[in-house]
Symmetry: C2
């Protein structure tokens, strides 16, 4: 499993969104996905860990999860060269609007 597959799963994107706000315990993250059971969320967290998107630190009985800065950057690096496509597209549109 790589970063791209990890991020392809909607529940995992949800978890990433929450961790972007602030660090959270596994339990908080479980509560944030009421449609899933605790083991299901735990496994999603494992995936995010394994691809380097999050970090965990123990806090007594709890595990505190944190978003890892460089994880998503790998996707951004891949997408960067393509950015000119919609930038060019937008420029063309702007020009069209300005010239009419």
């Amino acid at each position: 499993m790589d970063v791209f597959e990890a991020v392809a799963e909607p529940n995992r994107r949800h978890l990433i969104g929450l961790l972007a706000e602030r660090d959270r315990t596994a339990g908080e993250l479980v509560d944030s996905l009421p449609a899933l059971t605790q083991p299901a969320v735990s496994r999603h967290l494992r995936v995010l860990r394994e691809v380097g998107l999050v970090d965990v630190r123990p806090d007594g009985q709890r595990r505190i999860y944190a978003l890892k800065p460089d994880g998503l950057q790998r996707i951004d690096t891949w997408i960067a060269p393509y950015r000119r496509f919609w930038r060019d597209h937008l420029d063309a549109l702007q020009q069209h609007l300005e010239n009419r």
Copy 2:
């Protein structure tokens, strides 16, 4: 299947890369993935079409595929808010290096 899943598959990322250079016929794209059979590539192209990442136009017997500008933008839009994470991280690193 959504854009994220579409892009999670390595062969499809390969196809996107080629189409970023220039438009290509289905046949050219099939040749670009010698490990796969023609039907396999055809199905990948179908997926890319269905999620709006590419466009097709007929040219007689051939089909010419082209990258669609706004397809990947949806991923970029999702990732944009997180960009501050590694930008901040980089700033912190730079500062650290400058201050020693």
